[in-house]
């Protein structure tokens, strides 16, 4: 009862905070009545050359004052952008003009490919490191040195060796998401309770069955935590990577809209990145809950 009421109260408060932020935004982007009018009158009576120039630049013919267009978007402009982008997310009008859905699909595709490859490497290697103190000691210096390297620092080498920007993006995701998974898998495997391993020993359980039926479930919560951290990092990195290499993806979309000075589209992209990141995290939280056990 108490929990529910706190949840409801929290939700109401969230909505209030949201509308407060919107009103601050609205007030900050409101056309200024004093100076705005005088500038508008200047533009209202332009010289012929000025109006021709404005027309050439795609301005002036509309009733919105020119300075408002390049300034920070108003709420109504934002709403318009959201509506336009979300009503047709999958349009494709050439390399520089694709719908948000297509761009997201590219980014998610790269992230999941890089993430899965990292998982395929991290799980078995982490298992081995976790099981063997020798391998753990041998691998540890490499992990400790490679882990703090910004994944984007790998980009030139990736581009040079792979010679494909899209696959280089996948590689960058691979290299950034492997470390948390590797470290957590090794840690989870190494800290399986000795008692449980002894049970498996006295039952003469085969190594493979022990790995899948005892060690994996015992370490699963820790492994899933690693996967969740990795996915969070991968989603952070993909935006930066796509800004750098260009072509497709949500990061490229954002940078392209910045080049177009379409601030409302940039803000739209930011919001979408946030939402997708949240959904990804929620997905892994759910997986984590599924494998977590009460001890």
């Amino acid at each position: 009862m108490d929990k529910v009421s706190i949840k409801i109260k929290g939700a109401v408060l969230s909505i209030i905070i949201f509308f407060m932020m919107l009103s601050v935004w609205h007030l900050a982007t409101m056309p200024k009545s004093g100076t705005g009018k005088s500038e508008a009158t200047v533009i209202a009576n332009p010289t012929s050359s000025q109006s021709e120039y404005d027309l050439l630049m795609g301005k002036g013919s509309k009733d919105v004052p020119a300075e408002m267009k390049s300034g920070f978007p108003t709420l109504s402009q934002m709403g318009e952008t959201f509506y336009k982008q979300l009503s047709d997310p999958f349009y494709d009008k050439g390399p520089n003009d694709k719908g948000i859905g297509i761009q997201l699909a590219y980014s998610l595709g790269r992230v999941s490919l890089g993430f899965l490859l990292a998982l395929l490497v991290a799980l078995p290697v982490g298992f081995l490191i976790g099981m063997s103190p020798l391998l753990s000691a041998a691998f540890n210096p490499f992990i400790q040195i490679l882990k703090p390297i910004s994944p984007l620092a790998w980009m030139p080498i990736a581009l040079y060796t792979i010679k494909d920007s899209s696959i280089s993006g996948v590689f960058v995701i691979f290299i950034c998401s492997i470390w948390p998974m590797l470290i957590n898998t090794a840690f989870g495997v190494a800290s399986v309770r000795k008692e449980l391993l002894n049970v498996a020993k006295t039952l003469e359980v085969s190594p493979l069955r022990k790995a899948f039926k005892v060690i994996l479930p015992a370490a699963a919560p820790t492994i899933l935590t690693g996967m969740r951290i990795s996915m969070g990092i991968a989603w952070l990195v993909i935006v930066a990577a796509e800004m750098l290499v260009g072509g497709t993806g949500i990061g490229y979309f954002l940078w392209n809209e910045w080049n177009n000075l379409a601030i409302s589209s940039v803000i739209f992209a930011i919001v979408v990145i946030g939402f997708v990141g949240m959904l990804l995290d929620m997905f892994f939280a759910k997986l984590q809950k599924m494998v977590t056990y009460a001890d």
């Binding site: 309770r193 008692e195 449980l196 002894n198 049970v199 020993k201 006295t202 039952l203 003469e204 359980v205 039926k213 005892v214 479930p217 015992a218 699963a220 494998v291 056990y293 009460a294 001890d295």
Partner: protein, 302 residues
Amino acid sequence: MQINHEFLKVEGLSKTYVPGSAPVFENVNFDIAQGEFVCIIGHSGCGKTTILNVLAGLEEASSGYAYMLGREIKGPSLERGVVFQGHALMPWMTVLQNINFAVKSKFADWPKAKIEEHSEKYLDLVGLSAAKHKRPAELSGGMKQRVGIARAFAIEPKMLLLDEPFGALDALTRGVIQDELLKICSSTKQTVFMITHDVDEAILLSDKIMLMSNGPNARIAEIVENTLPKNRERATMHHDPMYYPMRNHLVDFLVHRSKLVQQAASSGSPVSNVTDITQRLKPKLVRPGKDHPLSNPSIQIN
């Protein structure tokens, strides 16, 4: 009585954890006959759990051998079921799945239905059929330990090793499970080696009680034959005329003699009041209340 003394045989077992230092225990010799229930009592640090782990095949002794049915124990085996001090159930599995896991390890070629039927039979034996779909975290300490016992019994081992299985339970629960264990063991003629700290538990359950002196340099000082009749019960056993001689003998050992034996052993004095040279190798057999001179050994402090 026709007993097979070669069922389990331990010879000259010793364990040294830190090379160069005194062994935790040394010269441990005993044997267990088929169908016997043997308890081992001793203070913490005398190496009881190590001996049990050696018998389980989980640990290696520094020297000496353990044989079961004439074969040396060199690793864990399904012939020996272990009930661990902590319940050691897989927390992500239900009670039934935990037992299924063990049964499947032993009878790998059984179909699923047969495995489940077998598991449920043993769950029923410890009175936990109703909780079969619960996870260990939802069970009380006593119930968890019962599942551990059912799991050990379910693989139908030739020998059962119990490491202080009731140590963490309250007295009431402990009594109930002791009764259950007694009932199951006497009906299945199970051979059992059990560690305990509880003198009454040992008297109730065992045929033979091995008394260990304090560690380091611990050894089995005496093997006490349980002189109480076989059909003893927890509720009435303290009225038996043999009960107090038995109990006093055990408690006296824990309070006084366990230390004296250790002192005699580590000082290396060849002859003492408690041990003489022959008993360094073979512990004496004591029958409290029956062999009068041995049942009430003079307690000598210094």
